[in-house]
């Protein structure tokens, strides 16, 4: 995969993940082109189109368009599954995800994406594993914050050890 974009029907970008190096100008141009192409498609057309030398796969979920660009040898039908899996992961994490969740918690959407894909390839195929990693990482973040409030700055290793203890307790409940 070369890039993954999420944008709304009104043309607002909600998430952009680039797996290839481009300048800001080039990125802006690509985003404009993608929005133009995808938003212009009639409702019952196929989910694939050709753009330059890339295959574009897009799918609409409620008010958001998920748009991925694939290389020549990538499997388009599987890419649809990848997009679907990402939506499922978001749904599991946020509980009935909607566009507002992604707007207000865009950094979490990115973190989830980073646990699922890396460098354009699928990183983890298990639905549960991604959720677990997110949980543990969030816990780490929270516990650190709470501990810093009470005890001031500790070294990181202290945090991580206590976080692991706490997270284990959470998972067993």
């Amino acid at each position: 995969m070369r890039f993954l974009l999420l944008f709304s029907r009104q043309g607002k970008m909600r998430l952009q993940k680039w797996f290839m190096p481009l300048t800001e100008r080039e990125k802006k141009k690509v985003m404009r082109d993608m929005m133009m192409l995808v938003l212009a498609r009639p409702p019952r057309s196929s989910n694939f189109l050709q753009w330059r030398d890339l295959k574009i796969v897009y799918k609409r979920y409620a008010s958001l368009y998920f748009c991925a660009a694939l290389e020549e040898h990538d499997n388009e039908l599987l890419a649809l599954e990848v997009l679907h899996r990402y939506v499922e992961l978001l749904d599991k994490y946020f509980g009935n995800v909607c566009e507002l969740d992604i707007i207000f918690n865009f950094e979490k959407a990115y973190f989830i994406l980073d646990e699922f894909l890396m460098g354009g390839e699928v990183l983890e195929t298990s639905k549960i594993a991604v959720g677990v990693s997110m949980e543990e990482a969030d816990t780490l973040q929270e516990v650190q914050y709470k501990l810093s409030k009470t005890f001031g700055h500790w070294s990181f290793s202290h945090y991580s050890r206590s976080c692991c203890v706490i997270s284990r307790r959470w998972r067993s409940t």
């Binding site: 607002k12 909600r14 057309s45 039908l77 390839e121 990693s133 990181f156």
Partner: protein, 833 residues
């Protein structure tokens, strides 16, 4: 802390300044903006606040500020001032900071700027961190946006992590390794030992990423490919387990266990089995199993089937399996789901070359897809239909394709028209059919036809001698209906000019001959000249056609009048033609019949693309007049340049100087003169191209604007030749918009006491290049470096190979002619990279 002093002051300032607002609040506020201007104002205010906060080096709120900055960046506002702050966040000890910092780095930093290299040390430390989530962040960032320098520095750490037993880290390290290999292929060897037992993992995440890593290595190196072939049995086993295993809630997608892993394994098998009989043999069974047992009711099953089909077609599978694969594709074609139909058409396009007959069986379904409403499907169906046309089905297919051409969207018309022409050329069952097809395309999609098809069509018509009367009649009738489609008009006016006499005589055998008078024909042609719909090129065609008719029709006076009227036309091209034709009437009337005779049959040397037109007619035409009247006047202006010779690698024949682009009409004559000049290839000014060199075509360079598009590229100049007082410097520029074209300006200076006259510079380049020499500033190099002769060379280097050049210099010095050959090899790398 003392009560007075700077630190207290700053601290009190901090207390007085409000804390930066939270991310959520900012998002909420921005969303309340009703207009773009309002939003911009809010953002600017917040950016200012963030900037001042950054200036204060406040650790507490840095994370919050960067997060807000990232949000604003996503809306499209500039956020580059946050780049360094991201680096500070990455270096922080807090996990929250690192998370946002790495995210910011991935969004804001760009591997083209040096700033990103500052991350390298932080990433290195974090790769060795005690918390796996921090290590994960570092691996992720490196694996998504690491530049080649970073990858080189950190590859060792990644390799270490690839061998860890922690599956969370191992899978991330594997994909990070993939990225490293993509950026720095030489490092691939380093990861080889770590791949030894990757496939024996149970964890699906690690398995999947390992397969991706192996795929990447096999694709890049044939040695690795050979090395990993032994994994085929293991891969087959894993795939089998996936299919046979029971329900696993973690990996299940609509009843299929881990389709992502299955597809990746199939792809790796494809690469391993290609052109290897043993491996292909080993995977035959499993492929057949997957192909027959996969559930096809949902998209996920079809995704696996699709990959299986691609694998079967690529490896050396047995024929039964191949038939199975094509049948699956055939079933896909009939599927209701548009995506599946699209994918089927794409795969059939890939296999049509190798399994032509099998795909032919599905021809009718494919042709039906031409009528599909979906644009993507129509395009694929069109491409596939053209690939399927052969001698047997050409009539039927052409009917469908012409119908498609009539009704399709404009975006398809150009490609479809070209495709029809190509197919008609290859498989036309009869000349009449061919001309009818061509006519049909011109009349229905005339304005979308590519420019280069006009000369091809003209040549086709010329060569079908028996069809001349029929052709000109049909073209004339088409002109009466519609003069807006330029290619049609151009071909028609050329034909009328050539065969107007046949039109008058009503000799047509194929269909009912029409009755037409000379005046009517001339009316039509004059109408074209005057019409606003005609482009300058078309007008040129019409004027020449009228001129040719002066030898075929009897109303010479009318023609003379028309020609003299256009002698004062504003269009320079038309004016020149009219003036020359006028001169033909006045001073060279005795030559007119010979000059305007019927065009000879042209030989084609290539069937695709612009063809080499060689004049086989050796009719005696005085060379003096030739300089003004090129026989192939109807062809587009740059055709004359097409006859220029480009040289084979070590051949010494130099390139002929091109004519100046403002006088294309005389280029034909100049060419013949130059051939006479070449002492190397023999003195005869034969109009045919010397047979020892393969004819090359100087394509397109002459039509590019010459001097307005050059942007200096900072390439150092060089001395190309320095002997006997003559020094030639090359200076370089790169021409925009085409980065493959290097523009070299030569400066020739003479340090001797006497000047060098009749100075001619010629150059030759290897086959993979194309060269164009423009006219020199003069051909006298003044003595004692008092001036220089400059000349511009344009070199097209599409393959970015190293530039080499052989130059030949001829001049007269102190009364005696001097000739020298030299090779130029010291081109700076920037000139050809």
């Amino acid at each position: 802390m003392s009560v007075d002093g700077p630190s207290y002051f700053l601290a009190s300032l901090r207390r007085r300044m409000p804390a930066p607002i939270r991310l959520r609040e900012l998002i909420r506020t921005i969303r309340t903006a009703r207009t773009q201007a309002e939003e911009r104002e809010m953002i600017q205010k917040e950016c200012a606040a963030i900037r001042s906060s950054f200036r204060e080096e406040d650790n507490t709120y840095r994370c919050r500020n960067v997060a807000k900055l990232l949000y604003m960046h996503m809306l499209g506002y500039p956020a580059h001032f946050g780049q360094l702050e991201c680096l500070k966040l990455i270096a922080s000890q807090k996990f929250t900071d690192k998370r946002i910092g790495y995210l910011g780095a991935m969004l804001l930093l760009d591997e083209r700027q040096d700033v990103h290299l500052l991350m390298t040390n932080c990433i290195k430390n974090d790769l060795n961190h005690s918390t796996q989530y921090v290590q994960g962040l570092a691996l992720c960032t490196l694996g998504c946006m690491g530049s080649s320098e970073m990858c080189r520095d950190l590859a060792g750490e990644v390799e270490k992590l690839l061998k860890t037993s922690n599956s969370y880290l191992r899978k991330k390290a594997a994909l990070c390794a993939v990225h490293v290999i993509r950026k720095v292929p030489e490092l691939m060897e380093m990861f080889l030992p770590a791949t030894k037992n990757l496939l024996s993992e149970k964890n699906h995440g690690v398995l999947h990423t390992s397969v991706v890593l192996l795929t990447e290595m096999c694709e890049r190196s044939p040695d690795m490919l050979a090395h990993f072939r032994k994994l085929v049995p293991q891969l087959v086993r894993i795939l089998k387990n996936l299919i046979m295993s029971g329900y696993s809630p973690e990996h299940d997608v609509s009843g299929i266990s881990d389709p992502f892993l299955q597809v990746r394994i199939l792809r790796l098998l494809r690469i391993l089995g290609k052109s290897d009989d043993d491996s292909s043999e080993a995977m035959n069974d499993i492929l057949a199993q997957v192909a027959t047992n996969t559930e096809t009711s949902k998209n996920v099953g079809n995704a696996i089937l699709y990959e299986t089909v691609l694998t079967i077609m690529d490896i050396k599978s047995e024929s039964g399996l191949r038939v199975l694969a094509i049948n699956i594709l055939g079933r896909f074609l009939l599927n209701n789901d548009k995506n599946i139909r699209y994918v089927a058409l794409t795969s059939l396009l890939k296999t049509v070359q190798t399994d032509h007959n099998a795909v032919q069986r599905h021809r009718s379904t494919i042709v039906d897809c031409l009528k599909d409403l979906d644009v993507s499907i129509k395009r694929r169906a069109m491409e596939l239909s053209f690939a399927l046309v052969n001698g047997n089905n050409v009539r039927g297919m052409m009917k469908e394709l012409l119908y498609f051409l009539d009704s399709c969207d404009p975006e398809f018309k150009a490609d479809c028209a070209s495709g029809v022409f190509l197919a008609a050329e290859k498989y036309a069952p009869s000349k009449r059919w061919h001309i009818d097809t061509v006519m049909r395309v011109l009349t229905t999609a005339g304005s979308y036809v590519r420019d280069d098809s006009v000369p091809n069509l003209i040549q086709l018509i010329t060569n079908s001698v028996e069809m001349h009367a029929y052709t000109v009649q049909r073209l004339y009738k088409a002109l009466l209906d519609d003069i807006s489609q330029q290619p049609l008009v151009q071909v028609a006016s050329w034909c009328i000019g050539e065969y107007g006499d046949l039109l008058l005589s009503g000799q047509c055998e194929e269909e009912e001959p029409i009755q037409v008078t000379e005046d009517e024909v001339l009316d039509v042609l004059e109408g074209l000249l005057a019409s606003n719909l005609s482009t300058p090129v078309t007008r040129g065609y019409s004027l020449t056609a009228i001129m040719k008719l002066s030898t075929r029709f009897s109303s010479v006076n009318r023609i003379k009048k028309v020609v003299s009227v256009y002698g004062s036309s504003i269009d320079v091209e038309l004016q020149q033609r009219a003036v020359e034709y006028n001169a033909l009437f006045k001073k060279y009337d005795h030559m007119r019949p010979a000059l305007l005779e019927r065009m000879p049959i042209m030989e084609k040397t290539a069937t695709n693309g612009p063809s080499e037109i060689v004049q086989t007619n050796g009719e005696a035409e005085p060379s003096a007049v030739e300089a003004k009247h090129p026989p192939p006047v109807a062809q587009p202006a740059n055709q004359a340049n097409d006859l220029l010779d480009l040289l084979g690698g070590n051949d010494v024949v130099p390139v002929i100087q091109t004519s100046m682009p403002t006088k294309p009409a005389s280029a034909g004559g100049e060419l013949l003169d130059l051939l006479g000049d070449l002492s190397l290839s023999g003195p005869a000014p034969a109009p045919s191209v010397p047979s020892s060199q393969p004819p090359f075509l100087l394509d397109g360079l002459s039509s590019q604007p010459l001097f307005n598009d050059i942007a200096p590229a900072g390439i150092p100049p060089m001395i190309a030749y320095n002997k006997n007082g003559l020094k030639i410097d090359f200076t370089f520029e790169r021409a925009n918009p085409n980065p493959n074209v290097a523009v070299i300006t030569i400066h020739a200076t003479n340090s001797t006491e006497s000047e060098m006259t009749e100075f001619v510079f010629q150059a030759a380049v290897p086959k993979t290049f194309q060269l164009q020499l423009l006219s020199p500033s003069s051909n006298v190099v003044p003595a004692l470096n008092q001036g220089s002769v400059t000349q511009v060379i344009r070199v097209l280097n599409p393959q970015k190979q190293q530039l080499r050049m052989r130059i030949k210099l001829t001049y007269t010095h102190k009364g005696s002619p001097v000739q020298d050959l030299s090779e130029v090899n010291n081109f700076p790398p920037q000139s050809w990279q």
